[in-house]
Amino acid sequence: MNRQRTQTWIFAGSLALSLLLMLMPLPQTLAPFKPYWPALVLIYWVLEAPERTSIGLAFAVGLGADLLDGALLGEQALRLAALTFIVLRFRSRLRFFPMWQQALAVLVLLLNDRILLLLVRLFAGDARPPATFWLSPLIGMLAWPFVFLLIDDVRARLRAKEA
């Protein structure tokens, strides 16, 4: 039971950390390069522990992110719900991809996420974003292996310690 609790802590902690990373202020020049951390972490958990995740959870995380981010209530909820759905759908295939293919898949997912965001923004009446808007998914793709390995490593170590 203890092990289960630890895993829950890692799960919740990584999601909270991703929200913090999303909020973390960056210099103006670096801001466009900030990957969409909550999406990366959610993808990981959907791939590795689908029993903990669901579209509903993604929706809730998105609502929390919206509350913190303060852009538009429901925007990130929508994006994360869609993302989670897609990953759940292709989970069994994605899991066994080699890392570079997985990273490419993450790039596609994040691009799709950006397109959703763009649609929402356009519907809300915002101006068209600059070209740097599309940089974030690329950085997300580059960051994916590290996120994956980092969380995996933490989980493995804790598991080993308890065993």
């Binding site: 909020l23 579209i55 929706f59 919206d66 913190l68 209530l73 429901g74 069994s92």
Partner: protein, 330 residues
């Protein structure tokens, strides 16, 4: 690893149920967005939850803050010194600029004063700038930045906002030299504004002293009296302040008194001066003296003086006075 599976294998997950759920959530999100867009729910929710949200922001900003603090803490000493030097230089530059601004403001005030003088005079004047002032014991001269090319000629009177400064004694094409009232070789016919007593103020060589000599011992002159040009001699127009009497003492012979006066013009300070343009050359004696001082009946001066103060159409007297008031060295 063994995952506890409640439902069917995800490989063959019932797509329809998942899609339905997704559609439900997407619809919910859309409704939320529209409502939020219309009603500003998010703002209100954030307002309510601010107690929880604000610390999150603090935490999120903490790494950047720490990095900044560390950068400040570990900035090299050399960098700090360079920074300091640069700032000091900037400060110096700003200070200098500020001082210059102050000087410009002062100059502005002086010029305004001069302009006022000019308007008050109702005379044709020319503005000139002092290039060089020589306030030695033997010579009290000033060089002006206007010369013959600007229409300056020998004999023009130089004044500033406070009083008579002197007269032009030499002109060059673009500069001219003025003999100041305090030059030992300069004399100007003056009148005591209070008593109407006439006299001649010589320069003493010191830039803050004029000598009014040959005053009768019984004459009514007191320290504090203002003396101004009398207009006699025709060179200096009447009524310009020349100085203030500061002391009176018997002269070496003991037969006359001599007074020491402080020049009215700011000889050591003025930067800009006015040159009076040609006065119509007096053919006869100067016009009636301005009504300065007490009436003649009260004047405590000899009858001769009284008669001189009135217009007197005798040319010889004028030339006599003119000789006395002219620049003695020329």
């Amino acid at each position: 690893m063994a995952l506890p599976r409640k439902e069917s294998s995800p490989i063959f997950a019932d797509a329809a149920a998942g899609t339905l759920r997704l559609i439900g959530y997407l619809a919910l999100a859309c409704v939320l967005m529209v409502l939020d867009h219309r009603n500003g729910w998010l703002y209100r929710a954030r307002y309510v939850a601010s107690a929880a949200i604000e610390p999150v922001y603090r935490i999120a900003a903490w790494p950047a803050q720490t990095a900044q603090n560390l950068a400040v803490a570990f900035t090299e000493r050399a960098g700090l010194i360079a920074d300091n030097n640069r700032l000091r230089e900037t400060l110096l530059l700003a200070q200098a600029r500020l001082n210059r601004m102050g000087a410009v403001a002062e100059q502005n005030a002086r010029l305004k004063q001069l302009l006022d003088t000019r308007r008050m005079l109702g005379m044709d004047v020319q503005l000139a700038r002092l290039i060089d002032v020589d306030l030695g014991a033997a010579r009290n001269r000033a060089m002006l930045d206007v010369g013959a090319a600007d229409g300056v000629h020998v004999g023009q009177v130089v004044i500033d906002a406070h009083g008579v400064m002197g007269q032009i004694v030499e002109t060059l094409p673009h500069t001219s030299i003025a003999l100041l009232v305090t030059d030992p070789n300069h004399a100007v016919p003056v009148v005591d504004e209070r008593s109407g007593l006439r006299g001649i103020a010589h320069g003493s060589g010191a830039p803050d002293r004029l000598l009014v000599s040959d005053i009768p011992l019984s004459a009514d002159v007191k320290p504090g009296d203002h003396i101004s040009t009398s207009g006699l001699g025709g060179r200096f127009p009447a009524g310009f302040p020349v100085g203030t009497i500061t002391a009176i003492s018997p002269d070496p012979s003991g037969l006359f008194a001599q007074a020491i006066a402080q020049p009215a013009a700011a000889l050591a300070r003025s930067g800009e001066v006015l040159l009076l343009r040609d006065q119509p050359e007096p053919v006869g004696p100067p016009g009636p003296a301005p009504p300065v001082g007490p009436p003649d009946s009260l004047a405590n001066s000899p009858p001769a003086d009284v008669s001189v103060q009135r217009p007197h159409p005798s040319p010889p007297r004028h030339t006599d006075e003119g000789d006395k008031s002219a620049v003695t060295h020329r």
